[in-house]
């Protein structure tokens, strides 16, 4: 198993689902001995799109990018704390750009064996206007992908980890 999964990446986006994914990834890294990387993407592509669409003002663009940088630090530090409690070390990583593209690039660059992501939208729209960047990354990355579900069960697994 340790040879099968040497490097795990968990994608964090500030949602509860992604924190649950992080807890699961920590358990997985603990049991396999795999290296764990936590990635947060600062979605500057979406902010630029909002400026072009004139939904954002120039000062909002700057403000939201700063907010997202602060969120990245906060959530990655939180995941780091969760991991340290269980004796697992985490490589914190953040990048800027399009979520889908940045995840795929990070998986390739870091030679990730397994990408761990939170639960995807339970409601599906057949409209192209609604798309999930994480789902797009899931379909595009060259490695295997694990979608973490059941927040309560994962919490129990995480808590029981010595």
């Amino acid at each position: 198993m340790s040879n099968l999964i040497r490097k795990i990446m968990v994608y964090i986006d500030g949602t509860e689902h992604s924190v649950t994914a992080a807890q699961y990834a920590i358990c997985l890294a603990s049991s396999t001995g795999a290296e764990l990387v936590a990635l947060y993407v600062i979605n500057t592509k979406a902010v630029e799109d909002l400026l072009k669409a004139r939904i954002f003002l120039q000062d909002e663009q700057v403000e939201y990018e700063h907010d997202m940088e602060a969120d990245a630090r906060r959530y990655l530090n939180y995941v780091n704390e969760l991991a340290l409690k269980k004796g697992v070390s985490v490589i914190k990583k953040s990048s800027k750009g399009s979520v889908n593209r940045e995840i795929v690039n990070a998986v390739k660059e870091d030679e990730i064996d397994l990408l761990v992501i939170g639960e995807l939208s339970r409601i599906r729209s057949r409209r192209d206007e609604f798309y999930d960047e994480t789902e797009r990354a899931m379909r595009t990355v060259p490695c295997s992908v694990l979608i973490v579900k059941d927040e309560e069960k994962v919490w129990d697994i995480y808590e029981s980890l010595v």
Partner: protein
């Protein structure tokens, strides 16, 4: 979380009853209050008004995207209002506004907030969909149009 997960009948109002910008903002925030999505009406309204005071969030073709950050919510909150009669909202093209997407988020959820706004921006580009939404008779129809059922 995608925008579609926030779309439910109880956060949609057709038609909006207000006739001017301040009242529309209040009515949209009231939708969230009535749906049990927020507790602090005043704080939510203040966040949205502060952004609106800088520059109108009314785009072209009748679409308006009021938004703001506030500690009054713990997660993303969406309200949709439709005013087939059209309301003056200082839009870019000077035309009356008909389709309102109110989005509020807590300050520490900037990533999901930006992603949801980007989805609204993409949706606003579909003129056929926006026209169909404006012509919807009820909330159920709006949900069906957005989910593509």
């Amino acid at each position: 979380m995608t925008l579609i997960e926030l779309v439910e009948e109880n956060i949609i109002k057709i038609p909006l009853e207000s006739n001017d910008k301040p009242d529309v903002l209040r009515e949209l925030v009231q939708i969230l209050k009535d749906a049990g999505e927020i507790e602090d009406f005043d704080a939510t309204l203040k966040a949205v008004q502060q952004r609106e005071d800088k520059q109108s969030t009314a785009l072209e073709d009748g679409i308006v995207v009021p938004h703001g950050k506030t500690d009054a919510v713990t997660d993303l909150r969406l309200a949709i209002g439709i005013a087939p009669q059209g309301i003056d909202f200082d839009s870019m093209d000077g035309k009356p506004s008909t389709l309102f997407f109110l989005l509020v988020a807590p300050p520490d959820m900037s990533g999901p907030h930006v992603a949801a706004l980007a989805e609204i921006a993409k949706l606003a580009q579909s003129k056929a969909l926006c026209k169909a939404l404006t012509r919807a008779d009820n909330a159920r129809e709006v949900v069906e149009l957005l989910t593509g059922d």
